[in-house]
Symmetry: C2
Subunit: 214 residues, 2 copies
DNA sequence: CAGGAATTCAAACGACGGTTTGAAAAATGG
DNA sequence: CCATTTTTCAAACCGTCGTTTGAATTCCTG
């Protein structure tokens, strides 16, 4: 009975290679659209490695999804304290700008958002449970933001306002591919995204400002 | 050279049966998630019928997508005139309420919206062209609505405002599955949707109201 | 440096995907 | 009613999918 408690190093690098390649491909083409063979080709590992390390495609996807969730919450909650030291207007504008970040590039955060987008149409069981467990603090952050504008609102109104706030950003993120094309025709460089964030921020602030009633 | 110009009746019913079944299945599981065998089983036709009538799965999907687009624009533009006779506040509230309709049931309009949702993550070429051709009047409707609140705004602001308006509704429609579950926990019956539409409508109106500047 | 466990590898398996085929069955038109 | 076209049908084809297999190789440890 050998108690192999030490981490084995060389196998970890293939694990990482697989996860990295899978994250990119899942973000690009979704779960069904990504084949095991495409993943192992990109990761340059053997095909059986996925079943060996993750017990199948499902297990790998589960792992990628977990990592994406961790990335998202860290990315957002890391700046949560800064928001508290700002005015509510500044804090909301900052939040909106950060939500619009994926419009600019294909960084890690954008990939994570894209993986979640695949899930919104028909959520996996894995995704459902992850949302139920881990999305609460993130939604809470948005709820806290709107709470500073609606101090007298009841719980339901606050929750709806939080979802509403997220929707105003996500519609642009989700339809990023369509925005530059007709009939919309938006340019998506950095100043344009800054302007967009500022505009949306102004509308949100004005929308929540005078509405004290539930 | 027989000029068979007359429509053949009995074959049309199988065409319709296929389209009807395909629309439901595509809405439920998307293009990749729906198999030819599932469609013909639901439509109770032979498997080769799809290739015969539509020249393959792509052709069938194209047809379903066209029908969905027609349904959407008709559904919205049919009430476009009514909006003009209302005050801008009433018109916007009506528009929001109509956008939130899919929250309630699984009617035809909801299915069409669901098919579009599948496309937003990675749009098909067919979908892209349909959007470019046929979405303009629908987006124009939204743009006209916000134009009544922002009479001095430039073109870009109006377009962004239209997309923004649609986003505030679609975030609820898109995540309909998640809304009743934790950590959100919304009930989605008719009075709740009415309240939701009214609340969103109020926020949008307040948001656009004082912001006259671009 | 053995010896055993952990990991990699090429190949194949079985299931399911969309499409094709060629003949049988209706439908059409003179 | 017959000749021709149109439509249906069961079966098979061919490719891709995720997974399994069993041997070869590498890694760790005593």
């Amino acid at each position: 009975m050998a108690m192999a408690r030490r981490m084995t190093r060389p196998s970890e690098v293939t694990r990482e290679r697989i996860i990295k390649a899978a994250e990119r491909l899942f973000a690009e083409s979704g779960y069904d659209g990504t084949s095991i063979r495409a993943i192992v080709a990109k990761a340059k590992v053997n095909q059986a490695a996925i079943n060996y390390h993750f017990e199948g495609k499902d297990g790998l996807y589960r792992e990628v999804l977990r990592a994406a969730f961790r990335g998202l919450t860290e990315h957002q909650l890391a700046h949560a304290e800064e928001l508290n030291s700002m005015s509510r207007e500044e804090a909301l504008a900052q939040f909106v700008r950060r939500q619009l970040q994926p419009l600019l590039g294909r960084d890690e955060y954008s990939r994570h958002m894209r993986i979640f987008n695949w899930e919104t149409v028909q959520p996996t069981a894995v995704f459902r449970s992850l949302v139920a467990e881990e999305a609460a603090p993130f939604l809470g952050l948005a709820a806290d933001l709107v709470h500073r504008f609606l101090p007298d609102a009841d719980q339901r109104t606050l929750t709806v306002a939080a979802v509403w706030l997220l929707g105003q950003c996500s519609v642009f993120v989700r339809n990023r591919e369509q925005l530059p094309q007709p009939p919309i025709g938006l340019v998506l460089d950095e100043p344009a995204v800054d302007w967009l964030a500022a505009t949306i921020g102004r509308w949100v602030i004005a929308g929540l400002q005078p509405a004290g009633r539930s």
